[in-house]
């Protein structure tokens, strides 16, 4: 009896892990931006780690523990490096955002609001723009008001400028140290 329970649990867990990997691969293929693909890769990696751990637990393979360490480090390094070098000119896959939450349209994605400022940037032509007549979400949205109470909290500093945000970095590192104080 307990053998049947054990085997059914193992088979069901394997099926769930395989299904989660397939669904995460779907997100990797469809994902509009490279960050969505990175999150999908993280989920695939987590499923691989869970499956490897289960294999280790149920079939006496404790020699595979360093593989778990290497996989954990691989996920960390991968997501950090990809998110470090993602830039504003990375375009999304056009039309890939449909099907998730149907009441949102393509203009909700707020792809570069300052695409006009960038002018003839190399990536600005491939950016999917909002449909004409559909770009009123910034105005019509009552929940978002960035300047509502800007004097409320204490002195929060802005985030550390990324490598490709030239409009935030107008000076060197000395200004960064000034800003924090």
């Amino acid at each position: 009896m307990s053998e049947i329970v054990l085997h059914s649990l193992v088979v069901a867990g394997s099926v769930l892990l395989a299904a989660s990997v397939v669904i995460a691969l779907f997100r990797i293929v469809r994902g509009p931006s490279i960050l969505d693909r990175m999150i999908g890769t993280d989920v695939v990696l987590a499923a691989i780690m869970c499956g490897l751990g289960g294999y280790m637990a149920l079939s006496d393979r404790t020699d595979l523990l360093p593989v778990l360490i290497v996989l954990a480090m691989l996920g960390f390094v991968g997501s950090v490096s990809v998110s470090r070098y993602v830039s504003k000119s990375d375009s999304m896959t056009p039309g890939a955002e449909a099907g998730a939450l149907s009441e949102f349209s393509a203009s909700d994605w707020h792809m570069p609001r300052d695409a006009d400022e960038q002018g003839a940037g190399p990536g600005s032509t491939s950016v999917p723009r909002a449909r004409p007549g559909d770009d009123v979400t910034e105005v019509a949205d009552p929940t978002y008001d960035a300047h509502a109470d800007s004097g409320g909290e204490g002195e929060g500093t802005g985030p550390d400028p990324g490598p490709d945000d030239a409009e935030h970095v107008s000076d060197g590192d000395g200004q960064e140290s000034n800003r924090g104080s």
Binding site: L6, G13, I39, M73, G156
Partner: protein, 131 residues
């Protein structure tokens, strides 16, 4: 045999968390929501599987290695998630209409105002875009 079933149940729960993360990855419509969904099996699922391994092999070597793995994961996953979310915010890969509150925008506005004021005080030019 009971320990086998307990560890199998723990592994099954880890698989359920992984499937939940994958379903959330497909169903949620925002980068930040997908990050919220995908963080579950990376930490809790791995903790469950590690507990299953520790139940099966209760030796010092295995348990300490599992503790190293879990602590490494607990340290690095928030860092990686923070980096992804920050990159997504900076490259505007988020839906403003799904946010109730955007405190980072206020902080960025304050920092930019401070930067402009500092540039004017220094007198190196009023346009801070030409740096």
């Amino acid at each position: 045999m009971v320990l086998d079933i307990i560890s199998a149940v723990l592994i099954f729960l880890g698989a359920v968390l992984s499937l939940a993360a994958a379903v959330g990855l497909v169903r949620f419509g925002d980068l930040l929501s997908r990050m919220h969904a995908s963080a579950k099996p990376q930490v809790l699922g791995l903790v469950l599987v590690a507990v299953a391994i520790a139940i099966q092999f209760p030796t010092w070597a295995t348990v300490t290695t599992l503790a190293i793995i879990i602590s490494f994961q607990l340290v690095t996953i928030p860092v990686a998630t923070h980096m992804v979310g920050r990159a997504g915010y900076r490259t505007k890969h988020l839906r403003r209409s799904m946010l109730y509150r955007d405190e980072l925008a206020e902080a960025v506005d304050r920092a930019e105002a401070r930067e402009i004021a500092w540039e004017r005080q220094r007198g190196t030019g009023t346009d801070h875009h030409d740096g």
